[in-house]
């Protein structure tokens, strides 16, 4: 987890925010800024795939082939 702290002021004449990210390793990053209705920062949800759960426990896992997933009518 990387946290970037930066105070920004958004106005009609200043709607661009720049970050210096040169110390980060090369790769793809998701930047997310969540602002509530009253202007407060809303904590973001962790969408890490490790935590992605269905609540469905299957002992035998289907192959999920399209041959089985679709009907003869194409749907």
């Amino acid at each position: 987890m990387i946290t970037i702290n930066k105070k920004v002021k958004i106005s009609k004449t200043n709607q661009k925010v720049e970050f210096e990210l040169q110390d980060l390793p090369e790769g793809e990053y998701d930047l997310q800024l969540l602002i509530g209705e009253n202007g407060e920062i809303v904590p973001g949800k962790d969408y890490n795939l490790e935590n992605w759960r269905s609540g469905i426990k299957l002992d035998i896992v289907p192959s999920f082939r399209r041959e089985d997933m679709y009907g003869e009518d194409g749907r």
Binding site: I56, S63, F64
Partner: protein, 149 residues
């Protein structure tokens, strides 16, 4: 053609379902492969069709388990949007699909697989991670690399 990076790879619907289902062995295997791909610099992509198929299969599984949870389905979409690039069909991808069907005499439900390939090709993606590699045999002739778990 679209403009995805050369190192992009399509993550097939079955892999997404394996990542999501609470079966530690299957989830662990899929997650490890995804982590290796990310470590090796691959950009993970899914098409609109894959999102749709995931939601159909997932809601059907919920139905079987007698607990349809629309909040979970909504959350699933967010997980997909946060972790994968989305590629889209287009007029050109339909022409690619037509070409594939004619060239490889594809018929029936395999046309759904062929559409994954057509949309991937249109978006300049030539790798697919799937647990059902035999469904994409025809794509090898189009220069695709089919990777499995």
């Amino acid at each position: 053609m679209g403009k995805m990076a050369d190192n992009s790879i399509i993550i097939d619907t079955n892999i997404l379902l394996y990542l999501n289902i609470d079966n530690e062995e299957v989830k662990g295997k899929a997650l490890q492969k995804i982590q290796y791909l990310k470590r090796d610099g691959y950009s993970l992509a899914i098409s609109e069709q894959i999102i749709r198929e995931f939601l159909v299969a997932k809601s059907n599984l919920q139905k079987i388990a007698h607990k349809i949870d629309f909040n979970k389905l909504r959350e699933d979409v967010q997980y997909l949007l946060h972790n994968f690039s989305i590629i889209w069909p287009s007029f050109k991808s339909v022409l690619f699909l037509e070409e594939l069907i004619f060239k490889y005499r594809i018929q029936g439900k395999v046309i759904h697989d062929a559409n994954i390939v057509a949309v991937a090709k249109e978006n300049n993606v030539f790798k697919i991670l799937t647990n059902n590699p035999s469904d994409f045999i025809f794509a090898l002739g189009e220069g695709f690399e089919i990777i499995t778990l």
